[in-house]
């Protein structure tokens, strides 16, 4: 253990890249703000806000999925993830940061007094609309603000508690009694996070934040679908950081066996995402009820047709065909390529989920989207690197670490 590189030093190149991306992002944000944000046209304005909205929601949920991964493997008594568990932990430290951006954006949308994005905020229209009236118990300003704040706050807090417990594995060796107690505490805190995660990401939050942009339409699949999108992207992000750290000579205990398992997650849940995509699509296609098909009208037959099916190709066909072989999941090059592709694919997926409802008639994908994306990628790189540098990279005294070192798939 003597020669382990536990302390991550942020390479200056990485910082330069991060600052450059943030710079591009800020420029794009300002340009968009002056061009569309201040525009008198409410629709132009909604496009600008919507662009920021889907980016920030996407990155919050993706980083939250990293903590979900830690909690799930903890509850499953997994040992294999211990050698690189500090990476998902560092990624999950983005939740408070991206979460506050999301909170600011959503509160702005809620209190701006405009109803272009959330039609159900318009109380006069809701009163005349029997469908929206029936949903008013869930879709109303008070509940939206309360639940959004609570969700982001508790993700951050429960995640923080989980990470704080993980730091105890750096302090000193456990004996049988304290080790068992440590593991038990881990499961307690992990299950608290999972329970809250299920109530929010697994059900209400995607309904509240994204599905309610088309308030007349509903799909019970929607939240699982969104959750799977973010989980696959989260696994890809973890894979990217693991490979980056391996390239820099850190994470000595992590090897192809671990990469293979991360690759399996990326592969399997890409398929599961498609399963949900299809389950949602086929039932609506088959039943052909106008109040349900309204969501797919702009996507399958309208302006978003190309993006909608392109999305299916890169998020389903590519992972299916490329990641199927064992050798592909063990190859650093291919996993890197697929991770970038999957992240991009699910970003596009979030794009069409939000913007396909805000701007039904034409596709808005352009410099603003990629600029805002670069802002979030830059922030992610910078803060995850800082989080990684703030802690030992290996939970040295974790009782399950040995299991991870000898892991064999």
């Amino acid at each position: 253990m003597a020669s382990l590189k536990e302390q991550f030093e942020i390479p200056s190149k990485l910082k330069t890249w991060a600052y450059a991306l943030i710079g591009i992002g800020v420029l794009a944000f300002l340009a968009g703000f002056f061009k569309s944000g201040l525009s008198k046209d409410e629709h132009e304005q909604a496009i600008f806000i919507g662009t920021i909205m889907y980016n920030t929601i996407f990155w919050t949920l993706v980083c939250n999925a990293a903590m979900f991964f830690i909690c799930v493997t903890t509850l499953a008594m997994g040992g294999w993830q211990q050698s690189f568990r500090r990476i998902p932990e560092a990624i999950s430290r983005m939740v408070p940061i991206f979460g506050s951006i999301t909170l600011v954006v959503l509160l702005y949308v809620a209190f701006s007094g405009k109803h272009e994005i959330y039609h159900w905020l318009d109380t006069e229209a809701v009163d005349k609309d029997p469908i929206l009236k029936g949903k008013a118990g869930f879709l109303n300003l008070k509940f939206f603000v309360f639940w959004t704040t609570l969700a982001i706050g508790l993700w951050s807090f429960l995640g923080y508690r989980m990470r704080a417990l993980s730091s105890e594995a750096d302090n000193g060796a456990f004996d049988n009694v304290s080790g068992a107690k440590f593991i038990f505490q881990n499961t307690v805190r992990a299950s608290m996070f999972i329970a809250w995660f299920g109530l929010t990401v697994g059900s209400t939050i995607p309904w509240l934040w994204m599905m309610s942009i088309t308030p007349h339409w509903y799909s019970t699949m929607y939240s699982w679908y969104t959750f799977m999108s973010s989980f696959v992207s989260g696994m890809s992000l973890i894979a990217l950081w693991v490979i980056y750290m391996k390239n820099k000579g850190y994470l000595e205990y992590t090897n192809q066996e671990h990469l293979h398992d991360i690759g399996k997650f990326m592969f399997a849940f890409s398929i599961f995402w498609t399963y949900l995509w299809f389950s949602q699509y086929m039932l609506i296609w088959y039943a052909n009820i106008p109040e349900e098909t309204v969501y797919f009208k702009s996507r399958v037959q309208g302006a978003y047709k190309g993006i909608f099916f392109f999305n299916l190709i890169i998020n389903f066909l590519c992972p299916l065909l490329i990641l199927m072989k064992k050798d592909a999941k063990r190859s650093y090059t291919l996993v890197t390529f697929m991770a970038v592709l999957i992240l991009f694919g699910h970003w596009i997926d979030f794009y069409q989920m939000v913007m396909g409802s805000i701007s039904k008639d034409y596709v808005t994908l352009g410099w603003l989207d990629f600029g805002i994306l670069s802002l979030f990628v830059g922030l992610m790189i910078l803060f995850v690197a800082k989080a990684l540098a703030s802690k030992s990279l290996i939970p040295k005294y974790h009782p399950f670490l040995k299991e991870s070192i000898i892991h064999h798939t």
């Binding site: 299809f278 699509y281 086929m282 088959y286 199927m324 064992k326 064999h408």
Partner: protein
């Protein structure tokens, strides 16, 4: 169907077995097989077995299933007997996907099971020689095939030195045969034709 001469070494510990496998291979002996009570991680690698091609076979079976489903349904619904079902187009791909999926899984699963049985030579009434009854219980049984030039006493001593707790020499049928154990031989009685 030919009987061959085998030297059998029994180990009671994985940690002893792995170095012994390595030694046997470097010494140039011909490993017939190793029988273990449970799947031992990495043993296939240590024995130098090639990667199984079962998954490739599975992929081909799966593709066959998809093709069968798609071609069959599309021929029936567009050419042979077109029906108007709920005003949907005749070529109603989304509705077929569950069936294509099921047929893919069915073909892949059945095909892979049969291929697996073929590769392992498992079938009803097919019998193989048991080198040691405790291979199913708690012993790791390494079987080495002898050639004309193999000095069996040397080999036995070599295995004992490598940590085998028990060694013996057996003349046994290397392949499978169809029949019943009680007609041919009783495996658990250790009936062996010992080398002269």
């Amino acid at each position: 169907m030919a009987k061959k001469k085998f030297v059998v070494g029994c180990f009671d510990d994985e940690a002893v077995l792995f170095p012994a496998v390595k030694k046997v291979r470097t010494a140039g002996y011909k490993l017939h097989d190793i029988y273990t009570p449970f799947a031992v991680h990495g043993l296939d690698h240590a024995m130098g077995l090639r990667e199984t091609s079962l998954h490739t076979a599975g992929f081909i079976y799966g593709i066959t299933g998809t093709t069968t489903a798609i071609s069959c349904i599309s021929w029936i619904f567009t050419k042979d007997w077109p029906l108007n079902i709920g005003g949907k187009p005749h070529f109603a791909l989304p509705a077929w996907i569950p069936i294509c999926f099921e047929l893919t899984v069915l073909f892949a699963a059945v095909g892979m099971v049969l291929t697996f049985c073929y590769l392992c030579q498992l079938a009803p009434f097919v019998k193989k020689h048991h080198f040691h009854a405790r291979a199913t219980d708690d012993l790791f049984v390494m079987v080495i095939e002898c050639t004309d030039k193999t000095n069996t006493d040397d080999l036995k001593a070599f295995l004992s030195n490598s940590g085998a707790i028990e060694t013996d020499l057996q003349f046994a049928e290397a392949d499978w045969w169809v029949g019943r154990y009680d007609n041919d031989e009783i495996p658990f009685e250790n009936k062996q034709e010992l080398a002269a």
